[in-house]
């Protein structure tokens, strides 16, 4: 298979996944391993595991990150570009078409009631994914404390979300490196008994 047709296949597969994937991100994973591992044999199961591990530690849009990692693995930089374009295009076109017709969303009472219903359902969906994530991410007291602090700061004190992420990163770093610092100073001058 030459590289252009590989690139086009990447584009086509990511385009169709993005066009149907509700919620995006990790929901795309099973379809991708079917397409790239089982059907085409372009990647191994380990490649997929690597992709997931790296993708979750990068900022940005999960599905773009995933497309770039897989596209690059399959066909280098052009592969990454074609894959990313495949992910971006369907929602872009669909939403622009929708937005052209829906400029005002709150026009009448019925529509605002319908949206109230959807917002209540979205709140419940996000709660479920927050619980799932909490089970994975909150493995010690410190992690629990960061999450609770973040929640309270956001909801009651209108803390900036970016600031919260930065604070989390700093706490993570201090928890890992500060003990080392203290350890090395302890060996120099042992604490008085």
């Amino acid at each position: 298979m030459n590289s252009l047709s590989k690139n086009l296949t990447l584009f086509r597969v990511f385009f169709s996944i993005s066009a149907v994937a509700l919620g995006g991100g990790l929901t795309m994973l099973p379809i991708m391993s079917k397409e790239f591992v089982e059907k085409r044999g372009w990647l191994s199961d380990n490649d997929m595991l690597d992709t997931v591990a790296v993708m979750q530690s990068l900022p940005g849009i999960i599905s773009i990150n995933m497309a770039v990692l897989i596209g690059y693995r399959v066909a280098g930089i052009t592969g990454a570009l074609f894959s990313a374009l495949g992910v971006i295009l369907p929602p872009f076109v669909a939403i622009i078409l929708l937005a052209m017709f829906l400029t005002k969303l709150d026009d009448n009472e019925t529509i605002s009631h319908i949206f109230l219903g959807v917002r209540a359902a979205v709140a419940a969906m996000i709660l479920l994914s927050a619980i799932k994530l909490a089970k994975q991410a909150l493995k010690n007291r410190l992690a629990e404390a960061i999450a609770i602090f973040g929640f309270i700061a956001m909801v009651f004190f209108e803390m900036n979300a970016i600031l919260l992420v930065v604070i989390g990163a700093l706490v993570g770093l201090s928890a890992a490196y500060l003990p080392l610092l203290f350890k090395s100073s302890e060996t120099e001058e042992p604490p008085a008994k």
Binding site: L22, P91, L142, A175
Partner: protein
Amino acid sequence: MKILLLYSLFAKISLFTFGGGYAMIPLFQDELVTKGQFLNEAEFANMVALAQVTPGPIGLNAATFIGYSQAGFLGSLAATLGLATPSFLLTMLAAIFLHKFKESALMKNLLSGIRPAVVGLIAAAVVFFANTSVFSAPLNSLWTQGRQFGLCWQGVLIFVLTLFLQKKLKVNMFGILFLSALLGWLLFLV
């Protein structure tokens, strides 16, 4: 000018979003509603709800929508590209240095603090949506004017039903969103 502003705003949001989708909502809210005042709370909540109903990654959908509402087609393009740029560049770097990146202790330690912060962020996004559906007034108004705070029974019903349908019966998202829209309409006729 607005186009550039949209591009840089969404690039900034993308750079600080870990965990995708839902984790992005509070960042959108901060930058676009609270600070930028591009949208009010209700408009923003509706756009996110709509981004949820339409296929495709929720962050991209919301960016395209918000970009369009601010500056038409070019606004959409700027917002989408802004969101995609950090994602693309950083992931490219990670793909090239995959093995070094995967085993980097620095990255691991950074993430050990960022992940729990993101859990807090996502939990806060629940309250954001509940504020205009399940609760009759924003939760943080309990603080200042506790008497106004209450529940909206229609919202509570849809919220609880969704938890049940998704968790116990594994109903798919399309079905749930359609049902919730229908119930939103019907319950208020009662």
